[in-house]
């Protein structure tokens, strides 16, 4: 029942190959992340026009939205990588899944905090049970669960597999949670401000947003690769190539 994959797929499974290829990719992503994020935030902070309703507080969008999107796609990546690791027993996939969790959790925190700060001038309160904020909070809880479960196992491989199962269960649940929270919100709140659903944003507003989103993705790639690289070293610490690296360090 096993599917044959092209050669690169199995090469990716080799920790050493992964370590080498990421060392070539990392600088490019790092430069791209730095450039895009600096350009995006300067543009967003200083040059984009203020929102006609919310004024300048709207500039928080340039961190809030990228981190919120990232927190969600990071969970997806974590679950998919975990699933690949479970099914095809690929070590690197588990390493990637494990490295995703803390990054995703920190992005969720950032999205929550910026959302709350944005909420103060917009809604007049630090916290409102808005559907998006609530489901982001639940997403954060899901991350906490995965991180706690991974670290609770002494045997690394079992922790990886357990976390992968949990992440997959979570990914099935996320749409249900999202839907139910949104529905619960409309039931209880009546009409709230829909901050991010605005009538057609002018291009001077959304271009920097796009730049920031891509920048954050690049930054995420940098973090993920570097975390995964250390994790690969840790897991392969008995092999000769890692010993050589350590000696040279």
């Amino acid at each position: 029942m096993k599917i044959k994959f092209p050669k690169w797929f199995y090469q990716l499974a080799s920790p050493r190959w992964f370590y080498d290829i990421t060392s070539k990719l990392l600088p490019w992503f790092a430069i791209a992340a730095l450039l895009l994020m600096v350009i995006g935030s300067v543009w967003g902070l200083a040059f984009a026009p203020a929102d006609y309703q919310q004024g300048n507080s709207f500039r928080i969008i340039y961190i809030h939205v990228p981190t919120a999107i990232l927190a969600q796609s990071c969970y997806m990546l974590m679950a998919i990588a975990g699933g690949i690791g479970l099914i095809w027993k690929i070590k690197v996939a588990h390493v990637i899944a494990k490295s995703c969790a803390p990054i995703g959790a920190s992005m969720a925190v950032l999205a929550l905090v910026t959302g709350a700060i944005w909420g103060k001038p917009t809604w007049g309160a630090w916290w409102v049970w808005d559907a998006r904020l609530t489901s982001m909070l639940v997403l954060f809880f899901l991350y906490i669960g995965v991180i706690a479960l991974t670290s609770a196992f002494e045997h690394i491989a079992s922790g990886d597999k357990a976390a992968a199962v949990l992440a997959l269960v979570g990914i099935v649940n996320i749409p249900i949670i999202k839907y139910s929270v949104e529905w619960w919100n409309t039931l209880h709140q009546g009409a709230t401000f829909k901050v991010t659903e605005k009538p057609a944003m002018p291009s001077e507003m959304w271009i920097p947003l796009l730049i920031m989103i891509i920048g954050f993705y690049c930054f995420f790639a940098v973090l993920l690769m570097s975390r995964a690289r250390t994790e690969v070293l840790r897991r392969e610490s008995k092999t000769d190539w890692v010993k050589l690296l350590v000696e040279r360090y």
Binding site: G145, G170, I177, S180
Partner: protein
Amino acid sequence: MSFFLAALRRDLLLTFRRRNDIINPLAFFLMVGVLFPLGVSPEASLLAQLAPGVVWVAALLASLLSVDGIFRSDFDDGSLEHMLVSPRSLLLLVLAKVTTHWLISGFCLALVSPVLALMLFLPNEGFAPLVFSLLLGTPTLSLIGAIGAALTVGLRKGGILISLLVLPLYIPVLIFGASSVQAGSIGLPIQGYLALLAAMLVLSIVLAPFAIVAALKISVRS
């Protein structure tokens, strides 16, 4: 099928021999419910408003509290190893265990829930929705909880961890369950909510057993 019944019979026998397993969740359920009037206010109108949520949260916690025990004793005494080296289907075994858990937690809680609802001044129209929504919602809680129990059964400090893993996944059931009671108590139709609860139940019956079996294998084989 006969194996499922045999497994179910064994698990029921095991719980009936230890009667505390049945009484503890019920007692816990009532006590949590009693904390709210003491902690918030004994005023009838306020409690009536809170009642659907309070009863549902109490039921959810009571179910969560007992879910840790689903596999614990079988893991500790080696029965789980026997189950894994058996040619029998683990899926059926797991389903039998979850069914037993539901019977001693969810089913009994649904039967007792009117007592708590009465103490919290839930309007009369809310009683039937409460019992029905608990009957439909708690099996999902048992199934999801069993995933968490299976993941943590091999760990020494599984207790708190399991709630950390499982509680976020309980949220949709809580929302639809409590909302159905709220809607019912002010005379709105509840079929929609019950249908959603039923849909979640079907989905979890189809998917959760596979996750539970995978998790059990990971826990025992670690």
